[in-house]
């Protein structure tokens, strides 16, 4: 038996952003950047670790909206064009920096190499569908893929039981579509939990969920092992909670690894640094500057910023991985002593997008981490929550406490003075959805289409991302527009259905835009 267990959990999620009605759309870049910087590198690293026999074990949530976007042909084609454009700019940049700024040659060459590899993997190995890649990694034992809310709906702020359950059941159905099996675990959106959620999870066949630290520490009764062992709700659903020490080591901008002076600086991007005329062929048609993903500087401790040196950054990532493992071994010994020999479990959940997008060297860190865990020590064993449950280690029964992983630990990020206006509309739609599901038991084909689309609009309106972005103060206009659009479309379709005067052209247009969950069945909302 190892001294302790370690469970890395990555939460990969982006809101469903797909605008076929426009030839280009700024917010679609979120997906494209994440594919280049996060998903492709992670897939590639996990595959290499597996091929090398390093036996990584990672739990990864790939949220239903992300699965749907990754599997969408329109977005796949647009990403291909995006990546090709970036590679073209990189080649152009190599010529320019060779003549004008030779200190950046090395970093530009790095971009050319990684983008070339990425495009090759994208087109040839994964056939432009990364869902297939993740599924292969699960099937070969590297990943334990868990699900999430259907559209990342914040469970405690949804008003009806039917709508709460629909978020989970539709996610499970979507998981079956993409991964061909039942998910064992779920990443509750924003780790938002309140008493009763576990009953819905159990009804949908979910064995465990991820919650924040105080869900267990403030639970009833006192947890014997604190946050370093899972608990089971009285209904048997297991709960794994976040270890703060590892969160801080990676996420803190003050003491976290990503703040190292040799790591890549996120905010200096050629999209803002180079002359507009030069960049124009690589911008959208509106010729507005934006992040393009080519960043040449390291964080540096003081101005001026120094050129990024990939080899040194890579060494740092290796060094940080070693340090991380050393700290885990130390932590495991201390906890094991405190717990009278009981092996501790350290659960470390992070946004997947931290690794590669915000922390460029993050995927390398993961690579080194699992290599060193495998080759350099035998005290810490990497497991998934499912592995832990299968181990047969006894688990205490406890009623967890309401909580989220958002700022201040509760629901303020999503329910506040700036977002409170959203909930009466969302709740009204939730009530109407169940009324419709109860009313229509044998709909005509057109009625079924409209009922399913009404369901999609409700789900998209419930996405916690909109309230988050409004609170965050970034992309406020877009987030607000998205929420309003889905409520608007819900009501247009609702009124059509109620009046019996269905505008099929409009229905078809809305279906073509908001095409998430082709498998949806509105009957899920029935009470």
């Amino acid at each position: 038996m190892p001294t302790g267990y370690f469970s890395l959990i990555l939460h990969a999620h982006l809101p469903f952003v797909r605008h076929p009605e426009y030839p280009e759309f700024l917010e679609e870049d979120w997906l494209y950047e994440a594919i280049t910087e996060v998903y492709l590198p992670l897939v590639s690293i996990f595959q290499r670790l597996h091929d090398a026999g390093a036996n990584p074990r990672v739990a990864m949530n790939i949220s239903p909206p992300l699965c749907e976007m990754l599997a969408d042909e329109t977005l796949q084609n647009r990403y291909t064009a995006h990546a090709e454009n970036l590679l073209e700019l990189s080649h152009k940049e190599l010529v320019r920096v060779t003549a004008e700024e030779p200190q950046f040659i090395e970093v530009v060459e790095m971009y050319i190499a990684t983008l070339t590899t990425a495009l090759d993997l994208w087109n040839n190995r994964y056939k432009r569908n990364l869902v297939n890649a993740f599924r292969e990694l699960q099937d070969c034992g590297v990943l334990e893929i868990i699900t999430c809310g259907a559209t990342h709906g914040f469970q405690p702020l949804i008003s009806t039981r039917e709508s709460r359950k629909a978020q989970i059941q539709i996610a499970v159905n979507n998981y079956w579509k993409h991964f061909g099996r039942q998910p064992r675990g779920i990443w509750l959106p924003e780790c938002a939990y309140e008493h009763g959620v576990e009953d819905l999870l159990k009804e949908c066949g979910i064995e465990y969920f991820i919650a924040d630290t105080h869900a267990i520490l403030y639970g009833e009764p006192r947890p014997k092992f604190g946050v370093h062992a899972p608990v089971r709700c009285p209904n048997g659903t297991a709960v794994f909670c976040r270890d703060l020490e590892t969160s801080q080591q990676v996420w803190s901008s003050e003491v976290g690894y990503p703040g190292d002076a040799y790591y890549r600086e996120f905010y200096r991007d050629v999209g803002w640094d180079l002359p507009l005329e030069y960049l124009k062929p690589h911008l959208h048609k509106d010729e507005t500057r934006r992040h393009l993903g080519l960043k040449y500087y390291r964080i540096t401790k003081s101005e001026p910023k120094q050129p990024y040196i990939p080899a040194i950054a890579s060494e740092k990532a290796a060094s940080h991985a070693s340090h991380f493992i050393g700290e885990r071994i130390k932590q495991a010994h201390e906890l094991r002593e405190l717990h009278n020999g009981h092996p501790p479990l350290v659960v470390s959940p992070y946004d997947a997008e931290l690794y590669g997008h915000w922390w460029f060297e993050g995927p390398q860190f993961i690579d080194y981490l699992f290599r060193k865990l495998h080759y350099d020590q035998n005290e810490i064993k990497a497991v998934t929550p499912g592995d832990y449950l299968d181990s047969g280690i006894p688990i205490q029964t406890q009623q967890p406490s309401a909580s989220s992983w958002g700022e201040k630990g509760y629901f303020k990020v999503w329910l506040n003075e700036g977002t409170a206006w959203m909930y009466p509309y969302a709740h009204d739609a939730e009530k109407k959805m169940t009324e419709l599901a109860n009313k229509y038991h044998a709909p005509s084909e057109i009625e079924r289409r409209i009922l399913n689309q009404i369901g999609r609009e409700l789900l998209l309106a419930q996405s916690s991302d909109w309230a988050f972005q409004i609170y965050q103060g970034t992309t406020v206009q877009y987030a607000s527009m998205r929420f309003r659009s889905h409520i608007h479309r819900f009501n247009l379709l609702y009124e059509d259905l109620q009046s019996g005067n269905i505008n099929e052209e409009r229905l078809t247009e809305i279906e073509s835009r908001d095409n998430i969950f082709s498998e949806i069945d509105y009957g899920i909302w029935r009470s």
């Binding site: 759309f25 630290t213 329910l415 003075e417 009204d428 052209e505």
Partner: protein, 353 residues
């Protein structure tokens, strides 16, 4: 679980007038009811309005939109529907200390009231009741027919709200009631597992909390580990031993703040920093007798009272970090109770990442 049931319509004035009133329709307060002004300045009875930032991230190209079909334009300019005027009352928990209510009342509720009471209806006022179901108390606030409000509340408590017509001398006429919510506790449970397999001593649980990063909770739990059952009494006892003053003397201060001071002193924070960080009243009192708050003395008394192991979770107390994280996340570190967080200080806060 917080009820997720939509507000239920309860009014049936005809039944009340017909003498068929029942307790489920008419709630009488057992205590005299005082109509209060609306709580806290930030609370509002204004209809909920969208707050839109001035920035414009996407601008729908109007020229393009004009060239497109009416359908394109219709979908590009989303309009929020007017919500039906119905009896709607919904309560949501924002945090253990703050909850949110929105409501609307059917216009015919007023008509029914007038029809039922005739000229006497003038004595009635539309109010919202905030019911504390745990303590069985209630507060009443005059409201408009539609609006929203934030309430400062207690943690670990059940709440429900009602909208209805109130008259000082007549039965309350309930129009609708909301779902129930329960605010969570903001500290560890006082209860140990009844199973001996999972039972953990108080001091060991304090160490478990410490190992999980919840140092202040660990400290408070540790204070209850010996002789006394509650941390307030324990805090008073410790201060009495440190200062030689009677325990009753310390009741005038906030106990959380007193505990924070103990933890900070034991953790090696300079006394001058502590004095600058606490409330004016406590600062003045601490400054009267600084020598007794020397760290070694305080630690010795804590260990004398609670045992040698008490010191394990006040070691290495200097590290404290801010709440800034990499990326766009708003991930919480707020429940990492900082060793040196002072409840009344403007500058201090929990260790919020």
């Amino acid at each position: 679980m917080t009820s997720t049931i939509e507000a239920k319509e309860e009014i049936n004035i005809e039944k009340i007038i017909g003498g068929v009133s029942s307790a489920s329709f008419i709630l009488k307060s057992e205590k005299p009811i005082e109509i209060l002004p609306f709580p806290a300045e930030e609370n509002t009875t204004e209809p909920i309005e969208e707050i839109v930032a001035e920035e414009t991230i996407i601008e729908l190209d109007e020229e393009v939109a004009k060239r497109e079909t009416p359908l394109f334009k219709e979908l590009a300019m989303p309009i929020l529907p007017e919500l039906e005027k119905e009896n709607r009352l919904y309560l949501q928990m924002q945090s253990p200390k703050r909850i949110f209510l929105y409501w609307s009342v059917k216009t015919n509720a007023y008509k029914s009231l007038t029809k039922a009471f005739g000229e006497n209806a003038g004595g009635y006022t539309l109010v919202a009741k905030l019911l504390n179901l745990t303590k069985e108390t209630e507060n009443i606030f005059p409201v408009d027919g539609e609006g929203s409000a934030w309430f400062d509340v207690a943690d670990n408590t059940k709440y429900q709200t009602e909208i209805g017509f109130y008259s000082p001398s007549r039965p309350f006429v309930r129009v609708a009631f909301s779902n129930e919510i329960e605010t969570p506790r903001m500290s560890p449970s006082p209860n140990q597992d009844v199973s001996p397999v999972w039972n953990v001593s108080t001091m060991q649980f304090a160490e478990v909390l410490e190992s999980s990063g919840f140092t202040q909770d660990a400290f408070e739990i540790a204070l209850t580990s010996h002789e006394t059952e509650d941390s307030n009494t324990a805090t008073e006892t410790i201060y009495a031993r440190i200062t030689g003053e009677p325990e009753a003397k310390f009741a005038e201060f906030e106990m959380n703040e007193l505990r924070s001071v103990l933890l900070a002193i034991a953790g090696g924070v300079p006394f001058a920093t502590i004095v600058d960080s606490v409330s004016a009243e406590l600062s003045a009192w601490l400054s009267l007798n600084p020598e007794v708050f020397e760290a070694a003395n305080v630690m010795a008394i804590l260990q004398e009272t609670f045992g040698e192991e008490f010191g394990t979770f006040v070691e290495n107390a200097e590290t404290e970090t801010t709440g800034v994280v990499f990326g766009a996340s708003r991930v919480n570190f707020g429940n990492v109770r900082s060793r040196f967080s002072f409840p009344n200080s403007k500058t201090s806060s929990r260790n919020n990442f």
